[in-house]
Symmetry: D2
Subunit: 298 residues, 4 copies
């Protein structure tokens, strides 16, 4: 928010750090306890509580009349949310977002993967009954900032490994439910990996097609032609292209030497920006009727 | 070869470094020009010429009676080799190798990927006509040691990207030809990535099955029960587990929430050891009738 | 220059890349050959020729009436420059710079080290005849972007070493000559090291004092009180604090348990920003009479 | 100990991990609680308790007749140890060690720094009353394996900073006391830094001399001529040269362009091997009268 022309920070709350003074969004801020949060006159709250404890808090905030962009998984599709709120994949839900009381901000992996699949899904081009293979890799900030032994520098440097293999990742439900809403019944087989980098996600998808496509990249170019935060490129995307920026960068290749028409789609984001705080601000801009790009690094 | 009880280095040749004195295999060695190589009395030559220039050299060496372990791709299956020589995936070709005049040492990616697939392929368990998805990632030494701009530290650190996407990698032919020899007609869709690490390969394979398997890991445990350099584990393999060691480390998970029975198989190797020099020495041991494990770090 | 409110790029020239199209300063630009550079109407040229070939070019540019900020070492103090031009350590030379025909932009190491020493030197507080010890470490971009074998990722990762040890670094003359101008006759013993990071310099100086100082940090706080790009802090500076920013960050500690009063002064910069392009733009702003902070990331 | 021809592991104890089964020294081992340690028949104990809690344990072990190599700082010189035990800088204390009941194993920084200074100190060549400047840098394993926020990958990668600046490091007392024993009264000004690498220490020392030396490196070559674990080299040492090896690697340069004769001495070690476990085993070999090099990687 440091560069936002219209928004200013009213308060920041962090249970374990109450009383700590930090610099946030270009302002000096002291963390208050959740129960001491001054909600009166607040236009919008960004909520990033641990998964599971978000719902009561969101209710309390809404009562005060503040909009909420919720970064937990609790209210996202596929997670058994008690209420149905817009799922803030901004490029899809833009119109629903204006004035919304609560928005469920997407997870980092789903942001990259769903935006990569969107043009195929919307046009019914994914092979019905097929399996979309997703091999993705994330920097360590995707695992949070709590000091776990497996995230120490000495463990991560010069290392690389998969985790939650065999469709065990908690973000899968969110992806599957969203694809179902989009009318795609294909299976997803998602294998995340931990990269020795601080930030960034690269997802590599193999997508079986319902029919061959002659100029596949055009599909993405057209769908995202007017999107300020989607870059469709001939060159393969790399983490370096996207870190510290609120963009998803997508490239596509047709698979050679395979019987069934198949595309390889790659999408890169910064998990902390387009995959979290950046998209949250993009959504907040929509909710409040502001310029969607305000305050966001392109 | 520094720790080999039976072999000693007779000469080393490197065209661009002739006259340079280095320490190799525990010995002080001066690089000679290829035309000055003292072949008389040499039992075996490790040849690592650039792809394309290996064949005439191998012929010249063979005339002198020396065995050759050739690390180029020229004589590997699928590459249009003028002669048919054993393909030195040791765990498969062991018996063919003893006394062989020439052995084609496998590429680094094919070593990890083919050993991961071997138990399924041998038993006809890969879905006929299906597509094996392979997302693999390699450290920078897999790209050689020539100073290319894209391999500079400043380009690789905190970065990650795919390359040769859409089945453009030159190692694919070797994998496809070997799978065909094993009777597997499935397609392979191979996407390699460049990791910000010095060494190591992790391959993540998604394999559609001809029929469900109740205890899939047992298949690998049984096939590799007596293999000194194959580790089949419950835990997911990481690069750290295998670097500086002549092993491939394999784990398997069944995919949940997909219609078609599918396995995720992961294999990790050190691209410079089991993926190159280590397997070459393992093969040399076979060729010369020595203990297969002599000189090799487990 | 992408964010500069008053300057726009007229041309870019790079001998080895002529004809190549790139995106620079927020504009699409095609590199022209040095002899084809359109100098008419150009207000200021940033020149970053290799050390040794800068002087004739600077003369040619000046003839056309354009100001020059020269990033080579040729015109810096201590290097036998044919003409005496202002040395663009902005915080020291600010008044000299306005309207200057040519400015010699400081080297990256000298920027960090000289700004760290400035308050002591100006007040005659460095022990006459003493030795200032400087152990500094730089990321790999300090060595340029040419692909040299020792800068490959595989060589730099998990490594660290000194170079030019014993006062062999070419930037030393620039530092010694500047200290002499400032009236400090102490020796400098400079040991640079290569860090496994892309960017950033941390210099750690041990400075013997002419007399003890009770509150040493106050000296820096006062000298730099109004400087927009100097941060004097209680906490020890780290590379993370300064990368991508046009700042030098300085902290000071008194040495305990030594007989002679001695300070340890630390200074951190981004070698590519405050140590090169950022300071060059800061100087250009001075030369052209613009707001000194225009276009610069703080 | 995995490669030691004469020693086998009888037990391993780790308070917080009791009952955990691990592979150590080539054996499968279950951690026992300290009070359940089977000391009968044990020849030697390696003790690595936290600093402060070592002394009573060492006493208990000694009563059982086992020798102790103690890796804590408690019994090292300068730390107010209740008893005087040999300080296991093996290259200095070799003769004292044979049969010793208890040996204090040196810290990692002191090992590198003291071995670098030894030839100068023994010959009285350090300027009396002068100041030895030591700028050293260590990989993160030097800070232990507890998960602290500042050791997370996301905090360490692409970062570099000093710590304990101004002679605040707890290893300083050990260095000063040892230099005093060696008859050197010079001050030490020690500035450690944290490197973004897993392991390795490089210490860069600037040493004012009592008199100029014509061929300084000869001093180190002669002193360490027969040492199996000291490498004196013309080339500057790097971390890569020493990691995973039980060696210290030392190079020397005379400082140019300074009034007072001064040497720059560099020493590199692996903090986990020669700086900890390797030297501990080297000392154990001496204590037990075995070949000093047994089991140690050179």
């Amino acid at each position: 928010m440091a560069g936002h022309p219209r928004l200013a920070l009213r308060f920041a709350s962090a249970n374990g750090r109450r009383g700590e003074r930090v610099r946030l969004g270009g302002q000096d801020v002291t963390f208050v306890a959740p129960e001491d949060v001054p909600l009166d006159g607040v236009a919008l709250v960004f909520s990033a509580l641990p998964h599971g404890s978000s719902a009561p808090w969101v209710t309390r905030v809404s009562v005060h009349g503040a909009h909420v962009v919720d970064l937990s998984a609790d209210l996202r599709p596929g997670n058994g949310a008690p209420v149905d709120v817009p799922y803030g994949l901004t490029e899809v839900a833009r119109d629903e977002l204006t004035g919304a009381a609560v928005v469920a901000n997407p997870g980092c992996y789903p942001t990259a993967i769903l935006l990569a699949l969107l043009p195929l899904a919307e046009q019914g081009l994914v092979l019905p009954g097929g399996t979309i293979g997703v091999a993705a890799a994330s920097g360590v900030t995707g695992a949070g900032s709590s000091p776990k032994p497996e995230l120490l520098f000495g463990e991560v440097t010069e290392n690389y490994r998969a985790y939650a293999v065999g469709n065990g990742h908690r973000h899968l439900a969110e992806m599957r439910a969203t694809l179902a809403r989009w009318g795609t019944d294909a299976d997803v087989l998602f294998t995340p990996h931990l990269l020795p980098v601080a930030r960034g996600i690269l997802a590599t998808l193999t997508v079986p097609l319902a029919r061959p496509l002659e100029h596949p990249l055009e599909l993405w170019r057209e769908r995202f032609a007017n999107e300020p935060f989607v870059e469709v490129t001939d060159e393969l995307p790399s983490l370096r292209d996207v870190v510290h920026r609120n963009v998803v960068r997508i490239a596509v290749r047709a698979a050679e030497n395979v019987r069934h028409p198949t595309l390889v789609v790659m999408a890169a984001i910064d998990n902390l920006v387009k995959g979290a705080a950046g998209q949250a601000l993009q959504n907040a801009n929509r909710v409040l009727g502001l310029d969607e790009t305000a305050g966001l690094p392109r």
